[in-house]
Symmetry: C2
Subunit: 334 residues, 2 copies
DNA sequence: TTGTAGGCGTTATCAC
DNA sequence: GTGATAACGCCTACAA
């Protein structure tokens, strides 16, 4: 038989409300009864029922995450699991739980989120990436359901989000490459419409400006996606032009890997190549690939923090948080 | 204001119990009222409250997973996310949710599971790997809390589990290697005390027996773990003996990668190398690494199925399920 | 400081 | 078939 608050009350010879107050650490309670109640709790091994509690106080203490299953590649796997770990870390510290689900298609995603909100199973939702014209954001906004986004959304007004400073990290890395004496950096990116790509391109440009170096549009190559083949093709085309270059800055490790493959094939040596995301694969390249670690775990941690804190009425000065990246220098940084 | 079952009842001019019956698709209900109720539901846009439902019928419709955060390497990341995806797949189809958490240490893990059970937030728990003398299994067993294990546990009596048939897949692969004409296969494994390793070793031995080939203990190398360095070292030592061999069967892709690294360094060519797990890295090796895909997603799917079905009283003939592996032949299969 | 009682939104058990 | 009504386990006015 389950032991309930009533049993505890009986055992401690108090009312259920008293037990409840002890549990919630209410002020108005005498030391004496407090002790008696605690004793009873211990003796009966009483554990509060989270469900009943939720129903009574209209708080779930639970967050929902929806993982897009569309891109189940190395990078997203790595990113997702790290972000989820970060979220779990903060959630646990605040006694929150997290429920997750993979969506098969985008349509599923909204359906699932709808269900999550409607069934009132969760207090808030965490979106694992912002797309342009994100329908889920629209939906949650309109519904006034609490949520946080990992990745800066198009409209940031009044919504919680966390992200890296992609402009800054790109700027700093390009600056570093230039300061190392490289004269010509090729920019290779994917997904032209994503904020990430734009921001990193701007960082590239700014680093050139600040260092008083010209760059030509010829050196800026942007493909449609971030797969290995895209990197391979982009650099292949570039090589045909026989332009000189001594560094390749890519916006993604997988692009970088494609680039390195081609460079190796063509025996182009001692060219600095850098990527983003610092996927496990990076250390397995020859030369080992230098990359910018975007700190996925911290992104997750802060996403959960922003959301939970706002649910709990804890005042965070900001509606967003920027997680610093870390450049991991490896052998490909000539 | 939230719309509840009462509002629907009022709107449809029936009792709440009737609405409830309609919702749960009860038999005894006239078409007429059913329609009226559905209309009211639609009109008011009523969504049942999952929490209240849980409280009333003592069912959570929620599973819990605990991820060990100890080993956050490529393999586990890949395995975990795939398994979680599989679980999510079946859970969604049965209208179950899944809550997860990472444990920092083993101690945490039990604490977290305890909390999960006690707070009666979940109906069952899914353990993502079986260790020897697993304390969490002991705990759950004693508590009679429903759970399923991915990975055959030590004591299988009366507990739900899913796993690959490691003996069989090892046997089949070794048989394949032998049939291909290889005369001497080196066995390289890690974690000597794990069932997986033992089973795969037995498969290796059996394949030799069946094909009437002798194998010497000299060719069976087992290290303490499954890291790249271990594979590298084991094969290095073996090479010193100048024994002839034409294939290396490893119990783990990462071991295999270590082996291939050494073989490349020593310019040992055309030796068949195989691994297990089929991690993303496998396709990035040169030559691309042949590997046994253990179907992590299916493992997760069946784990969820076994657990949920048993919770729902759906009769599965078996208390366990074996997921077939798939050998992925790549260039390293000379 | 503590107790009483009503409510959270359902489902389940009775009657009818 | 359908309707009252009592759980489910906890919280929280309000009263004492």
């Amino acid at each position: 038989m389950k032991v309930t608050i009533k049993d505890v009350a009986k055992e401690a010879k108090v009312a259920t409300s008293t037990v409840s107050r002890v549990l919630s650490n209410s002020e108005k309670i005498s030391k004496d009864t407090k002790e008696r109640v605690y004793e009873a709790i211990k003796k009966l091994n009483y554990k509060p029922n989270a469900i009943a509690r939720s129903l009574a106080n209209n708080k779930r203490h639970m967050l929902g995450v929806v993982l897009p299953s569309e891109a189940q590649d190395m990078i997203s796997n790595h990113f997702f699991i790290e972000a989820m770990k970060g979220m779990s870390l903060y959630a646990q510290s605040m006694n929150y739980f997290i429920t997750y689900a993979f969506s098969k298609e985008e349509k599923d995603e909204i359906l699932y989120i709808e269900e999550l909100c409607n069934s009132s199973l969760v207090d808030g939702i965490c979106l694992l990436r912002a797309k342009e014209k994100d329908k889920t954001i629209e939906f949650l906004k309109e519904k006034k359901f609490p949520f946080v986004v990992i990745g800066r959304p198009e409209e940031t007004e009044n919504i919680l989000w966390v992200d890296n400073d992609n402009f800054k990290s790109s700027f700093e890395l390009n600056d570093k490459i230039i300061k190392r004496g490289k004269k010509k950096i090729v920019f290779i990116g994917g997904r032209p419409h994503w904020n990430v790509t734009k921001d990193r391109l701007n960082g590239y440009k700014m680093a050139h400006e600040v260092n008083g170096i010209n760059f030509s549009k010829e050196n800026i190559l942007i493909g449609e996606d971030c797969c290995e083949e895209t990197g391979y093709k982009l650099i292949s085309n570039y090589l045909k032009k026989k332009n000189k270059f001594d560094a390749v800055f890519t916006t993604d490790d997988v692009l970088a890997i494609g680039v390195m493959k081609k460079l190796k094939e063509e025996k182009v040596e001692e060219v600095t190549v850098t990527g983003f995301n610092d996927i496990p694969l990076a250390t397995y390249q020859t030369p080992t690939l230098s990359s910018v670690n975007i700190k996925a775990q911290e992104l997750g941690y802060w996403a959960a923090k922003l959301l939970i804190d706002s649910l709990e009425g804890i005042n965070n000065p900001n509606k967003h948080f920027i997680v610093d990246c870390e450049f991991i220098k490896r052998d490909s940084f000539y």
